[in-house]
């Protein structure tokens, strides 16, 4: 069953700081960082299972998340990085 959309556009999220040794699609430099959801990209097959030819892979909701250079690298520029991340890798910011 596909999961339902759990984050809304514009919402601030934190990337989970998990370090599985198996295939996953979250670059290290974004782990633990704060970003803003800019788009929901819909439901995709979970690559953490399909990478191992698991045919019953579940579905992930994919979000495009914006990160600022200022936050990631302490830069003074307004530059940004966008990455497409699964909902299960994101968590809500509490208050």
């Amino acid at each position: 069953m596909p999961e339902t959309q759990e984050f809304s556009i514009g919402q601030m999220v934190r990337v989970k700081q998990l370090w599985p040794s198996k295939h996953h699609r979250v670059p290290f430099y974004l782990k633990g960082k704060l970003g803003q959801v800019v788009t929901c990209l819909g439901s995709v097959e979970n690559p953490e299972l399909s990478a191992y030819f698991k045919t019953n892979a579940d579905q992930h909701i994919l979000y495009r998340v914006r990160f600022t250079h200022a936050h990631l690298w302490g830069s003074h520029q307004t530059d940004e990085i966008y990455a497409d991340l699964a909902g299960k890798w994101l968590c809500e910011l509490k208050g």
């Binding site: 699609r25 979250v26 670059p27 430099y29 990209l41 995709v44 530059d79 990085i81 990455a83 497409d84």
Partner: protein, 208 residues
């Protein structure tokens, strides 16, 4: 050494007297298994090899040039690249989902895949070696301005750089800004200005 010929020329051009790399051994083993188990046919294999070999950035350039000339097509292309390209009569059934990010005077986009080397091959052909290098992948997310400057591409401090890290199964490419004077140019000439690098985001279109 004198002009004495000591090494042996093999008659098989594939061998060239060089040992196969691990990757080449893996590829041959996998290919032979897929054929033996009839998961792929040789016809399908060769069709895909031909398709891959015939892909080039000239195709992406022709699409971008058309979008610059035809605003209705441009809007359709940015909204849904695959559908807009299919509407031109191209077979997109083998094409991964694509996102085209548009440069403006205020925003300059750059594409990378830090996790591996995802690349919009359908639009741009095989990726350049540097695109797959650890140096490009690691540096362009941290110091995009410095990396772009090394390509001779100087982005003004007022222009924001947006780096798209292709972490999922979507492929990204850039729609560069049409250079001044481009509007008056015929389509065929205009598309030669749109370089591969300008569609990755490390270059600007170059007018002839």
């Amino acid at each position: 050494m004198a002009d004495h010929h000591t090494h042996v020329h093999t008659t098989d051009p594939d061998l060239d007297g060089k040992a196969l790399s691990d990757g080449e051994v893996w590829e041959a083993a996998l290919r032979e298994l897929l054929l033996e188990k009839e998961i792929l046919t040789t016809t399908e294999l060769h069709e895909q090899m031909n398709r891959t070999a015939s892909q080039s950035a000239a195709f992406g350039a022709s699409i971008i040039a058309r979008a610059w000339k035809d605003l209705k097509f441009k809007k359709a292309l940015l909204d849904n690249p695959k559908a807009a390209i299919a509407d031109l009569g191209h077979d997109v059934s083998k094409m991964p989902d694509l996102v085209i990010v548009e440069n403006t005077v205020n925003v300059h986009n750059v594409v990378v895949c830090t996790l591996c080397s995802c690349y919009p091959r359908y639009m741009l052909g095989p990726p350049p070696e540097w695109y797959r290098s650890a140096a490009y992948r690691a540096r362009v997310v941290k110091d995009p301005r410095e990396v772009l400057a090394e390509f001779g591409t100087h982005v003004s401090a007022e222009t924001k750089i947006q780096v798209y890290d292709s972490t999922a199964d979507l492929r990204y490419m850039v729609m560069p800004l049409c250079p001044p004077g481009g509007d008056d140019m015929p389509l065929a000439q205009l598309q030669t200005a749109i370089t591969r690098d300008s569609m990755i985001g490390v270059g600007f279109p170059k007018l002839p």
